[in-house]
Symmetry: C2
Subunit: 306 residues, 2 copies
């Protein structure tokens, strides 16, 4: 039996890394030979979760070979996927994002649901097949949901995510509120990242009509501390805009304690942002009260106002 | 509660019409207000099935309004969907085809599986939710699977389709082999269709690299009878090629009794067909032994040789 690969998106976050490991475990229970791999360095939050529940990070791959059978988790857009994905055989996708920049030559298993986290869907799949969930696997599933929903405070959170968190916390035998805050805070220690790294850690390319944009996001426990490095960020963003011919770059610095964001916005199409959020940028920046979700609160606003 | 619409593809076949009715029934059980509609005239096979199990055909619609909430069944490609689909809100898709020419602005429920028929997936969904299936609903679900798998003889058929047929036949209280043959034969009475209608009854547009193609298919119990109208078909196909700037048109006349097809092939890119099937067209036609499935045996061959 040929080995199938499972991976999440580039610039991996906790859901992407954990879903890959969990999907490999799920497929093993089905008798399939599936190996979890990753497309980039795990961030500090993810490392905290893996370490806590005693997992190694999956192996890094640079690209997939032609004809390689793959499973995608937590993404579907080819621009966020492995290099060479166009010529791989995509057998399965489990995801919770919109569908865009995706196509296959053959029918496949595709399961998407509009919930807060891929692992909420994976939990359903274990239950539908009657598979038991190991304590450590439950721990990383829980970590992923806490990460994607900012400890159930993000507007992307659904009732199903809440139930999943409670159920998984029991199996993992942790107090999810205590553990979750500790994990999220571990992810906000950004002091040893360069500005270039920070704008690339969790960055999504998107097309706004005929405009090219990127929306990057970092979590912090202290916006003002991060804003001390504003001119560094501006320089890194300007460089990225020039090198990639971008029309707009939005960098959201999200306060996970108080659920707000400070955006640094550059590019020749900043009016899309200003129109969308009904605000004026001052010195390339604006405060966005209550905004924590790129998917629900930033991307749709930019799409609609492009 | 606003009414949501559910529909299958243009040039509807039995699976498309029946999945719409079945999905509306499923959503009703979930307490949702969903109405089945159709994008074209049901064919004779579908009419036979609807009549047998005492259903009316869903209402015809021409297009969907901006912002209308919709569920797509048995298709995902916008080119096969309702006019205006780009500006509708797609909330759910249940399908068994490859994903292509599809995108959404928001996350959604998307469920695809590589099985022979949409209704095989719908049956799973009823069972997952513990919903009972009404005898008449089971009858049209069964009809759809028989139609899509040519009474379980098509290579698109999977073990899950077989099991579904047996299970649904019991609930519907029919002998599926007898009923199925009767239904398929009802669909092969094509005498009162014009050549234009026949090449459009079940016709899929597709892009072969940068080439525009259409692959149409009709079922028959007697290829030679159909081939008496060959020059009529050629004229209709040539007209379609000219009007739509097509590079290739493949019209497959499929013998559902003996599981073969006769193809009539026109356009300036007929070499794609000849290369793919390792054959020479004689007088614009070629016999394809064992070929009955457009999805598994024709489209991939054309894709690979374009």
């Amino acid at each position: 039996m040929e080995e199938m690969l499972v991976f999440g998106h580039k610039s991996p976050d906790t859901d992407t890394i954990c879903s890959s490991i969990v999907m490999a475990d799920f497929q093993k229970k089905l008798g399939k030979n599936v190996k979890a791999v990753r497309l980039g360095e795990p961030n500090k939050e993810t490392k905290f979760a893996l370490n806590y529940f005693e997992f190694e990070a999956p192996e890094l791959i640079e690209k997939v070979e032609e004809g390689q059978e793959v499973i995608l988790v937590d993404h579907n857009e080819f621009s966020q996927s492995a290099d060479g994905i166009e010529n791989a055989k995509i057998r399965m996708v489990v995801d919770h994002h919109r569908i865009c920049d995706f196509l296959t030559a053959e029918p496949l298993y595709y399961r998407a649901e509009p919930v807060g986290c891929t692992n909420t869907i994976l939990l359903k799949m274990y239950k539908e097949y009657g598979f038991e969930i190991d304590k450590k696997i439950a721990g990383i599933m829980l970590s992923a949901i806490i990460s994607d929903t900012l400890l159930l405070k993000s507007p992307t959170k659904t009732v199903e995510d809440e139930k999943a968190v409670e159920e998984l916390a029991k199996i993992a035998e942790v107090n999810y509120e205590e553990y979750g805050l500790e994990m999220l805070k571990a992810g906000t220690d950004l002091s040893d990242y360069s500005a270039e790294e920070l704008i690339g850690l969790d960055c999504k390319k998107c097309e706004l009509k005929d405009k090219k944009a990127k929306v990057a996001q970092v979590n912090t426990a202290d916006i003002s501390e991060m804003m001390k490095r504003k001119s560094e960020f501006e320089a890194a963003i300007s460089k990225d805009i020039e090198e990639n011919n971008l029309d707009l770059f939005v960098f959201a610095i999200t306060d996970i304690i108080n659920s707000n964001s400070q955006a640094i916005v550059l590019g020749k199409e900043t009016t899309i942002f200003e129109k969308g959020f009904n605000t004026k940028l001052e010195d390339n920046t604006a405060f966005l009260p209550g905004v924590v979700s790129r998917k629900k609160q930033i991307l749709p606003v930019l799409q609609e106002n492009a």
